[in-house]
Symmetry: C2
Subunit: 449 residues, 2 copies
């Protein structure tokens, strides 16, 4: 059995610790921040998360599915809020499947406690990674207010997020890397529950206020409140406001009244929150290779930070852990060089695919969900899926309700786009989308490959 250092005790680091400790390895987790069970480390800058099918697959494999399920809220549909406050509920699947909303802090706390129960896991908070020797798998940590310590291990995992210190060290070698900020930043807005603890909106929906160039969304918490997030360009354009033109309290008041009128009664202090909460940016990070020397590996956001619009960032990281665990099952626990190499090769194309898928979903969420053609396409796809479940699984279902690899889902999704483009161009499609004629045409296109 091996001595493992995990740099970063967030969502992925804590699950990875559970996986590896249950295999019998000796695991030490070093986290830069304090213990989230003692202080609120995410204050005002969190986006709620959703656990999807593949996230559950990984949590189940680690034996923590039940512990996590207790703190989630199922979400069956997106609920669109138009400018007039009119609602439109669009289910995520034809068979009543759900994704599961969870607060980042809650989930992190739960997994850390699960990890800590294992005798061969040791958690160290307030330890900043200041160096990694990639040859010897030795990390150097600076404890809060202490002296630098050196920790030698057999294997080091960098699960230290988008701004990974482990990755920074790998970057000094032959390492392909890109970071790209999207134009949109975000701010958290907390939606309170009613005084009696009941929710003010349907908690089993992801609420979206799509406004084309910007948008707000809200995901339920267990306490009846919602964590809302406003996404808006950093800099305004002729088409849309930006954080740079919504700066004063007066500008913010006008902005919310004009574009999100139905949210005002639900969040009476929305302007105060807007003025108070930090503005955060969103980056896409890609790199290669994910492992070096058969001793150091990146996992989760450290390897593939993506934009949050598919709600898959955490699920992708959990799937990383699950795949690693499967490879250890296959090749044994004393064959790290081989296992890490196979892990990187298997996961890198999927990291790229979910990065692309997430950008694509941003366009859908802020824009297309308000487009009649897009809604028609959803209906057609649902109809096809119902009639030919083995031949048509909509892209969203592949990503959220299956374990199909992201890279395969992405390829299939692009094929669906080409087919649906033809279908939506059929004259009179609005009337005859359920007809045998249309179904026959689609099936021909599907078979043509």
């Amino acid at each position: 059995m091996s001595k493992i250092t995990i740099v970063g005790g967030g969502l992925v680091g804590s699950l990875l610790a559970i996986f590896l400790a249950k295999r019998g390895h000796t695991v030490s987790v070093y986290e830069r921040r304090g213990d989230p069970r003692k202080t609120d480390v995410y204050a005002g800058r969190s986006i709620n998360l959703v656990v999807s099918h593949r996230g559950w697959t990984a949590l189940r494999a680690a034996g923590v599915e039940v512990a996590v399920k207790q703190i989630t809220v199922p979400v069956y549909a997106s609920m669109m809020h138009d400018r007039d406050g009119k609602l439109n509920r669009v289910p995520y699947s034809i068979d009543n499947r759900a994704i599961y909303s969870v607060s980042r802090g809650e989930l992190n706390r739960r997994l850390l406690s699960e990890a800590e129960q294992l005798p061969n896991v040791k958690l160290h908070f307030d330890h900043k990674c200041v160096d990694v020797d990639l040859e010897t798998a030795t990390c150097r940590f600076l404890p809060n207010g202490g002296e630098v310590i050196g920790v030698k291990a057999d294997v080091v995992f960098g699960s230290d997020g988008a701004f990974s210190a482990v990755r920074a060290k790998m970057m000094l070698g032959r390492f392909t890397y890109s970071q790209e900020y999207i134009e949109h930043d975000y701010k958290e807005v907390a939606f309170p529950a009613n005084a009696d603890g009941t929710p003010k909106m349907d908690p089993q929906c992801l609420h979206i206020w799509p406004r084309r160039y910007y948008m707000m969304m809200g995901l339920a918490n267990q306490d009846g409140g919602f964590t809302g997030t406003l996404f808006m360009p950093n800099t305004h354009t002729e088409n849309a406001p930006g954080f740079d033109t919504v700066k004063t309290e007066e500008q913010a008041r006008k902005f919310f009244a004009e574009h999100f009128a139905d949210a005002l009664p639900i969040v009476p202090d929305i302007v105060e929150q807007y003025m108070r909460n930090p503005q955060s940016s969103l980056a896409i990070i890609r790199c290669n290779p994910w492992t070096v020397n058969g001793k150091v590996a990146l996992i989760g956001d450290a390897a593939h930070a993506i934009v949050p619009f598919y709600g898959e960032g955490m699920n992708a990281g959990y799937e990383d852990c699950k795949v690693l665990n499967d490879l250890l099952n296959e090749h044994g626990d004393d064959n790290w060089g081989h296992v890490l190499n196979a892990y990187g090769k298997a996961r890198k194309p999927n990291g790229d695919a979910i990065a692309d898928l997430s950008l694509r979903n941003f366009v859908e969420m802020r824009d297309l969900v308000a487009d009649p053609k897009f809604l028609l396409r959803r209906k057609i796809e649902g109809h096809l899926q119902a009639k030919h479940p083995d031949q048509w699984l909509p892209l969203y279902s592949q990503v959220k309700f299956s374990d199909i690899q992201y890279k395969d889902a992405w390829r299939e999704g692009l094929r669906h786009d080409r087919i649906m483009e033809e279908v939506l161009a059929i004259p009179g499609i609005e009337e005859k989308w359920e007809s045998a004629e249309v179904e026959k045409r689609v099936m021909e296109l599907v078979k043509a490959g």
Copy 2:
């Protein structure tokens, strides 16, 4: 007048110091390495440089054209060496224009001495930049064996190369960045002169041994020798050897005898050099923005590290300096916020274009220059240029023999590709490329835009 810190005293930093000091600014240059006039800082890992038209434009504007010309060797053509040692000379232009070979060390030493003559330039060697405060334009330097010092300025330029410390600080903010290593690494090989100091090959040619998947090139030095460079994939493929399969002395001997037979008598110790010299890698670095807070700016390789196959890396950096100087002429020397912003906006698209152009030229150099179709295209383009000099300037001439912006040259080059693809597809083009019929067809395509 302003207080300027230049981080990095290489090719671009030293020229920038001259430009800014001549305007009256107080300039301090901090270089990580020692003084190249005292020690050989480039030992065994240098690729010779060529000064092209736009490089001269910048050097002239800085008043150092004559000083630099003295240490260069004009190069009028490329000389291809095939596997049998057969030579084929291909001039760079139809009007006998030259690029100018120069050793990196020589040029750096010359420019540092030119800069040092200016009373308002101060050079500091062995000073490593360990931090930059982007808000206050304050750098912290660690002198060799000394204590960290803080240096506050009005403006900081990062001309500290591909692995820029200034850029590393900018990366922590909202900053788009990518680094990409190409598969090919390189090794330097020194070609000696004859005993009497005369060169063993035509010094007025860039010598190329194109071998499709790898290549060697040689550029003349003033001492009658050549600086040669072998470019080869890091890892072998089924098509070609790689540095990983040419490792032992025996493998190297076999490799050079098989693929570069005519170089062996010229460089008798080529195998010993191969075994001794370090293997270096080649990265393309792109980032955005190049300036921050109207106080800190990247310039040269720090902003746009490219592969060396167009010989334009230094020229691009020199053009950065010239454009900055022009903007200071236009907007005045007390308007840095405006000038730096305009500088970044003007130069970034050109940095991207020369990065793309350089990758493209790698394919030409190692591969196409041995292709009859490509050589025919060159002849056709020369013919067109001779007959319609105002309507057809080959891409190479735009890049090397003009001040046309890289971005415009790149666009025009892609247009040329489309036109030439049609022309080369004309049946019997090999026989009738000089005919009026072909000329008419091309001119129609040119006018069609």
